[in-house]
Symmetry: C2
Subunit: 399 residues, 2 copies
């Protein structure tokens, strides 16, 4: 799901107190996962993904009256299916596709769809800590009578119906996860925003009941606010559509048409590996992220101040196909996540505070239901930003 | 606010039973206010409103970190101010602008912003009947603990805090309205979706605390899902922004950039009256609607089956300026609303049922907290649709 900061908006950083310590250093905001890193690839591709929309187009509320999800652009539906088939990360056959204003809205649509106005009490919603910090904000937003945030799935011991949000790869920690509660009467919602080949090995074609994806993390087009849900049960998909009807009367057409084009371009090229044009989006992004992780790991190792997570090597079905013709693609099998989940050495109790004193805004482990000794740091910002971050990180040891 | 049908989506009309009566007549859906009428104008204008968006543009979540509403495109903010100033329908100076995914989402943001998580009980939300049918659906959507739908404002007699939704011109009835409850401890939200010169005389530059507008009804671009709120209190605007952050992490950039261009084009031409190019959007649309209303009134008169509302003649500050140089502009002072609020003659108890038996889908007065002897009929569909409607309407008398 989207990683934009919901507490410390950029506005809140103007005149941030911490800047007084080092007035010459600008504040680097790595708190939210703004995927501007991907601009490099899309600039390289030139006009191929340019969309042109005329003044008289897309006036209607409706995209396809024949589709139960009547506001879903047919072209977007096609390229979503096409991309999942090409990458092999999720089954689309037999699934209904519901489009949303980002996957945050789709999560709310799911909660509406799997609960009932007649139920005696609110349904518990849990996620295993460390969990995506926005979940609890979304759950608590308007004090819904349908559902309530029930915290860390590891500690859920009520004998009541529940909904478990399974984020895999996990935000913030990047690890591959499955359900934790595993009890009858539970509904599982799989948030797969990061289950794409630039971040993690694609180990199987997933076919869960409810799967959430978003363009923000797939292609980096966070500003378009386009998410989609793959939903097995047609009735659940219909109720989700109803939620979108009432809450926003559907989803804007322009970003749907744009993302349709972009996903198609990504799909068309994603089987060409090691091409001199470097026009395979996943390959290009994976390499870019891998380089950043290498630099980060080196810097952390030198400073002896920070511990980074270790990820298991896994075979990737997507890159795996070409391992034999392209030696050295073992590299492709290391996970390089969109966020660094950093633990400070034990003497440091508040890692976020330490970073802040160096004008680096991160998100504290506390926000994820975890330990303030951890911070989440975005790895998908622009180069200048990342290089400044590394430079400052290397100096923290001197304090 | 948006007029799309939230109960009978087009999908639900496929195989609609009523079609069995007259298998040769296609179903005309005038239930929702899909503003496709405006395509004629935008086609005429050609490429002037064409937007071109490159693949690498607008990747970030952020539009303007310096603005408390950090996801509002600066160009959109400028053209919103420019259009209101040119038309003279609302004050923008000293107001914060919050953009939303249509004004439905902005209404939810307002409800969040003016209520509190600490309040002892839900705040009552009322609107004078006949009220926009989506209000109660929005209010009841997730059973919020912050607010609850309390029905017709005329019948609200609790001595409790309340929020009154004032829709002016009103949807469905088109009449100009003010608050009804008028008690201390009330918050007023003005839904001004139809306060534009093609629908109603602009009698004053409004300066209410919270004013909602939407591109859907202003320019007909319903598919773009762009609404905006003019908010006097900066703290309320901040809380509204927070709601948008959590519920959808802001608003898509593409439709913001497109609507920015379209509103600017409308503003630039809206002072040129009677130009041979006919490129004044409001003048063109007003004339188109006025012709339709003339035909509808004639047809209703002949059939003696239906009663249409009578609206007072009022001076329009917008057209008024040119009355002296352009004789006959008295016509401009008749209200021609986006919906016809039709009353069937007394013998007919269920007007919606009567229309349905002629394959005309309308929205029953019941849905608006009113009498089933009324229906709301969209006047802003395509010509073919409107002409078919008139043709069938003229035949109903024969039954």
């Amino acid at each position: 799901m989207g990683g934009a900061d919901n507490r410390r908006s950029p506005a809140a950083n103007n005149g941030n107190n911490t800047t007084r310590n080092l007035p010459l250093d600008p504040v680097i905001n790595l708190d939210h996962g703004d995927p501007t890193m991907y601009e490099t690839f899309w600039k390289k591709l030139g006009d191929e993904c340019t969309v042109v929309i005329k003044g008289y187009e897309s006036l209607s509320y409706f995209s396809n009256p024949k589709n139960p999800c009547w506001f879903l652009e047919p072209k977007l539906e096609d390229s979503i299916k096409c991309l999942h088939d090409a990458v092999g990360n999720a089954v689309t056959e037999g699934y209904s596709i519901v489009v949303g204003t980002g996957s945050s809205q789709l999560l709310q649509a799911v909660l509406y769809a799997v609960t009932s106005h007649d139920q005696p009490s609110q349904i518990n919603v849990v996620a295993a800590a460390p969990y995506y910090s926005s979940y609890l904000e979304i759950l608590d937003l308007v004090r819904s009578g349908l559902y309530k945030w029930a915290g860390d799935a590891h500690e859920f011991n009520k004998n009541e119906p529940y909904i478990e949000l399974v984020t895999s790869p996990n935000n913030p920690s990047g690890v591959i996860r499955g359900p934790v509660v595993n009890r009858d009467g539970g509904v599982l919602v799989h948030d797969l925003a990061y289950y794409w080949p630039q971040y993690t090995p694609i180990t199987s074609k997933l076919d869960f009941d409810i799967m959430l994806f978003t363009a923000s993390k797939c292609t980096g087009h966070a500003g378009s606010r386009i998410g989609w849900a793959l939903v097995k049960d047609k009735e659940v998909a219909k109720k989700m559509t109803k939620f979108m009807e009432v809450s926003t009367i559907g989803v804007a057409k322009e970003p749907q048409l744009r993302i349709a084009k972009i996903l198609q371009v990504v799909a068309d090229r994603c089987k060409r590996f090691g091409s001199p044009e470097g026009d395979n989006f996943f390959e290009f992004s994976k390499n870019m992220l891998a380089k950043r992780w290498e630099v980060l790991r080196e810097t952390a190792k030198k400073s002896e101040m920070f511990i980074l997570p270790k990820y298991p090597l896994q075979h990737c079905n997507y890159y795996g196909e070409i391992t034999h013709i392209n030696p050295g693609t073992e590299n492709y099998l290391i996970m390089v996540t969109a966020f660094a989940w950093i633990k400070c050495k034990d003497e440091i109790e508040d890692c976020e505070k330490l970073f802040r004193s160096h004008n680096i805004l991160t998100r504290s482990g506390r926000r994820f239901g975890s330990d303030p000794g951890f911070v989440r740091v975005s790895m998908v910002g622009r180069d200048e930003e990342f290089n400044m971050f590394i430079d400052r990180l290397s100096k923290i040891q001197d304090l």
